[in-house]
Subunit: 129 residues, 2 copies
């Protein structure tokens, strides 16, 4: 498979695949005599894994770590479980933070509803923000 075909099969672009190779997510591809990359079908499975990792909110750096453990011949199970736990904690924290932000904004918005234009004319930039 050439890079364009693989990209299409994986639902991405050739540019992104080169980027992934550059970032260590894909192993350096075999080359034809003329320098074209060529890939076996196992690379498609690897790309699907990368996409599943992204859907789980993992960063490319985290996905790369898993891949490198796998490439070294070890099952990355423990590490994957750890990363999922971490992500879960992070997401919970983000949700909590956004909840607080939501309350802040909602309060400001409510206050903004009952403001006389005259109050706005004061020295401050904005009377209710």
């Amino acid at each position: 498979m050439r890079i364009g075909e693989l990209a299409q099969a994986a639902g991405t672009t050739a540019k992104t695949l080169r980027f992934y190779e550059d970032q260590g997510l894909l192993l350096p591809a075999a080359r034809t005599a003329s320098g074209y990359r060529h890939y076996g079908p196992e690379t498609l499975a690897r790309l699907d894994f990368i996409h599943r990792g992204q859907a789980a909110g993992l960063t490319l750096a985290q996905i790369r770590q898993i891949l490198q453990i796998r490439d070294s011949g070890t099952a990355p199970c423990d590490h994957v479980r750890e990363l999922l736990d971490m992500r879960l904690a992070e997401v919970d924290e983000q949700i909590a933070e956004l909840g607080r932000l939501r309350a802040t904004i909602a309060q400001l918005r409510t206050a903004a509803e009952n403001v006389e234009p005259e109050t706005c004319q004061a020295g401050a930039v904005c009377a209710y923000l």
Copy 2:
């Protein structure tokens, strides 16, 4: 006030204040004969406003818009209300998205709990991600 004092009073850095001037959030400061910026106390109020805007999750670009309306002599009330409504909708969407992500990760994590190491040894990168 010189830039360092103002920065300290506002709880930020001189570097950031120059950046804000550059970005149009602060009006170009008056200068001493030797080229030092100097500020009146009203700039501190402006910086406090910028910080409140950030605490409400507005971007510097949005805060700049409000400031420019104010600087043009108009009360920015309507625009601020609009921005708060927008932010509220965005935050709600982000919370919903994170909720979906949380469910995905939690499901993967549960599945990962009951996996035999042997299943992991298959051709795939990871049996449960």
